[in-house]
């Protein structure tokens, strides 16, 4: 089991308001699965993804990542797990503008503490996978949106994570580029990497093995892909 959440809750509190972002949220994802997450805005998709990626704490429940209970982990341990086990792909790419492609991909490897030769090997390998070997000295601003997202995918893959979290990875791309990115994600999944992808687009959600629907902070359904495709 790559991810196991049992009765997870997340409450944002201010002085006057209490917002339940997740309520009794339970989900299990097997290793090698490709799961899509959809739901209306404000339903809790991103909160779920942030908690899954150890970017946020949760208020209650149990979360096990790759068999490890992460409930009481400290900051440095969570950072280490994020760095070693999880790859992130964001809707707006989140590349560092003053770093070239090579150095952007290098960022998580630096925190991993790899030697220079190992970092170089990994960076060149993943840049080659995403088809940008000839652009590694380019700045993000010199690339198209699709290419930038490919760089973000390369950065996510460089640490050879077992778990990839993608938050609307095609949201800022046209359909052709979106298709190309999806093909890349499918290829990565076929190589054994578990992927959870948040998306608003049903046609992309259908390409995952399983689609889950989040509404009002709760898991609304966890239907197989074929059923969703049939109903859609």
């Amino acid at each position: 089991m790559m991810l196991s959440m049992q009765n997870l809750s997340k409450i944002y509190r201010t002085e006057s308001v209490e917002t339940h972002a997740l309520r009794e949220f339970s989900l299990s994802v097997d290793e090698g699965e490709f799961v899509s997450v959809s739901g209306p805005s404000g339903s809790g998709k991103t909160t779920f993804l942030n908690i899954a990626g150890l970017l946020e704490d949760f208020t209650g429940g149990v979360y096990q990542l790759d068999g490890q209970d992460v409930t009481s982990l400290g900051d440095s341990e969570r950072s280490r797990l994020r760095n070693q086990k999880i790859g992130f792909i964001f809707q707006s790419f989140n590349l560092i503008p003053e770093l070239d492609i090579y150095d952007n991909v290098d960022v998580p490897l630096r925190y991993r503490g790899f030697a220079a030769a190992e970092r170089k090997r990994r960076i060149e390998h993943v840049i080659d996978i995403v088809g940008l070997a000839s652009r590694k000295k380019h700045l993000p601003s010199q690339l198209s949106g699709g290419q930038q997202q490919r760089v973000a995918i390369a950065r996510a893959l460089a640490g050879e994570p077992r778990f990839l979290l993608a938050d609307e990875p095609t949201g800022n791309l046209d359909s052709e580029m979106a298709d190309s990115v999806m093909e890349l994600l499918e290829k990565i999944n076929q190589n054994g990497t578990t992927i959870i992808m948040v998306t608003h687009e049903p046609n992309l959600a259908c390409r995952a093995q399983r689609n889950i629907y989040v509404k009002d902070g709760r898991l609304d359904s966890a239907e197989p892909k074929l059923h969703l495709a049939a109903s859609g």
Binding site: N50, E56, D75, S79, Q91, E98, R110
Partner: protein
Amino acid sequence: MFSYYLKLGALSIRRNPILSALMVAAIAVGIGACMTIVNIDYIMSGNPIPHRSDVLYHVQLDNWDPYNAATEPDLPPRQVTYRDGTALLAAQKARRQVLSYKTWRVVQPDDPDQLPFQVQSRSTSADFFPMFDTPFLYGSGWDKAADDNEEHVVVLTREINEQLFGGEDSVGRTLMMNSDPYRITGVLDEWQPTPKFYDINNNSFGQVEEVYFPFSVSISKELRSNGNTNCWKPMTESGWEAFKNSECIWMQFWAELHGEQEKQDYHAFLDAYVESQKELGRFPRPLNNRLNNVMEWMEVEGVVDDDVQVLLGLALLFLIVCLLNTIGLLLAKVMRRSGDISLRRALGASRRAIFSQYIVEAGQIGLAGGLFGVATTWLGLQGIKMLYGEFEAVGRLITMDWVMIFAAICLAIVSALGAALYPTWRACGIHPASQLKTL
């Protein structure tokens, strides 16, 4: 990782050149103002003879007015009388001892094209040179026999030797002073103790004398002091002999003493001497003899002006104001980079890694501020030189050695790191997920 953080710091500075320049400028101006005054304080309060300062003792005997201390509160006079100075010198109770005073002479060059000129001179006993470890370019000082025999011998400074003899080895040659021939025994190399510890009564930061000759010769020629002379009771008679026997103080006496025991023994000797003088009707005040080593003497005399300490305080306050500005600018910079921090946290950077990154960047800004701070310090010192350039002593304070340059850079880096603590702490508190959607 340090080199990586250095690279990120350099990139960040390039990414925000105006903000970075403002921070560097704030630090540089603060460091410049602070180090200008620190530098002056450092020069003024430095140890003028560090390798011997703890064995050289300034001697004070309290022969003063029974109803008024020479210096409040109850301090003995700074100098000694001729009677006491010569008695202590003759006793030879210390390893070495020197009695000296400032006077002046007229030098008559051999070259008929050069006009006679007046020189500041010091009349002193033979131990002056080995006690104060004066460096010699040529030759040496004179010996005790020359003192005893009132030999006309002289030691010149390098500058006078260059002026009179073109810088050649003039040892053995004759120098005419006030129509008397003096045999040159030595030429001093560059020597300028700052403060001029051996005679701080006559301008603590003044230039050393240009010519040195035996005390016994100047007494036989009835040469009075060209420095401070103070008397607490009027002389009953006029004339040189009356002056020599008066209670007027005009000479400086130093003794070389090694260790506490020698100091105690010498103090006992001074007490016994004063007691013997009391029997002669002198020294009406209670026993109040003092022995201060070089740095103690500088402290007692307050060589560093109180105004400098006040200025130092103000300069430090100014530095703090500049650092508060730097804190604000760093905070603005960190907040502008919250997206970058959030992303790095998401990609695996711990709080410690973010802290290190921003502290290293602050150190780089501090280093740049320090380098520019050295330049602004130099400008500050030049400004003081322009304002007070007519005072010879000020010129000697307008120097900046490597210690001060290093101190300026270190202070800038430490200041920048201090200023960066709060903004960096805020940076570490940025949540990994907080900015990722807005990037």
